[in-house]
Each structure stands twice: as C-alpha cells, then as structure tokens.
Symmetry: C2
Subunit: 72 residues, 2 copies
C-alpha cells in the first residue's frame, strides 16, 4: 500500500522556513497566516509493515517534530 | 481555509534523501519500496488567495519539483 508520513515542526517551536514563507507571501500582499514547513515521506510498503514503528524509530525526532500517517 | 502544498522531487530525478530512507529501512528488514522525501507547506489562507499562483511563483521549482495542493 502507499503511505505518506507528514513530519512537522512541533507547535511553538522555531520554524524558520515557515516564518520565511509567511513573511514573503504577506509582503507580496497575500492574505495568509502561520505557514509551517515540514517534510513528507511517501513510500510503497508491504501490508505487514508497521508504519508507526518506522516513524518513531527512524524518521521522526519527537523532541522537535510531530507526525501524521496517511494511507491511500 | 487550511491548505497543504506537497512538493516532491520529480520522477526520475535524484532524490538522495528518499534513497537514504529506502536503503536504511530495507537494511533493517522492512519491506518498503521507492521512498520519496519532499517538503510540505501547511498554511491558513483567505479564500481569495490563489494557491496555484503562490505555488508556481514562489514555492516550487518546476525544473526539479512537482507539487500537489490539498484543501481541508
């Protein structure tokens, strides 16, 4: 199956890229708020694979990142 | 409204992070294939904002990246 892991900086933590995007777009006149920039990992996995385990063990730093798994 | 822009390396182009993830997880015994690593930008925008325009003009490099917009 196809899965997607979205990894975002935790609420309240520094997100310089998100801040840069917010400032750039606001300065260009777009009405946007609180852009956040994170990572996305898409992969094709066997049904037996434990995605939560992969995310926690290898892909996400829980101190500074939160994540969400989406299956297609 | 809340929107999400997913920006992935184009098919066939070098994706060193995706390759690293594929190799790491495969070496750990997980049955996964073709991981791709991209960026995700989430933001709160006014309904008047043209997301496609923002993506094309400021956020995506069309030479090496493809993107997808998702609205919530």
């Amino acid at each position: 199956m196809k899965v997607r892991i979205l990894i975002m900086p935790k609420e309240g933590l520094l997100d310089p890229q998100g801040r840069a995007v917010t400032e750039l777009l606001t300065s260009k006149g777009y009405k946007i708020e609180s852009a956040k920039v994170g990572k996305v990992i898409e992969m094709e996995v066997d049904d037996s694979v434990d995605i939560e385990e992969i995310a926690k063990k290898y892909l996400v730093n829980p101190l500074i990142e939160s994540y969400k798994v989406e299956k297609e």
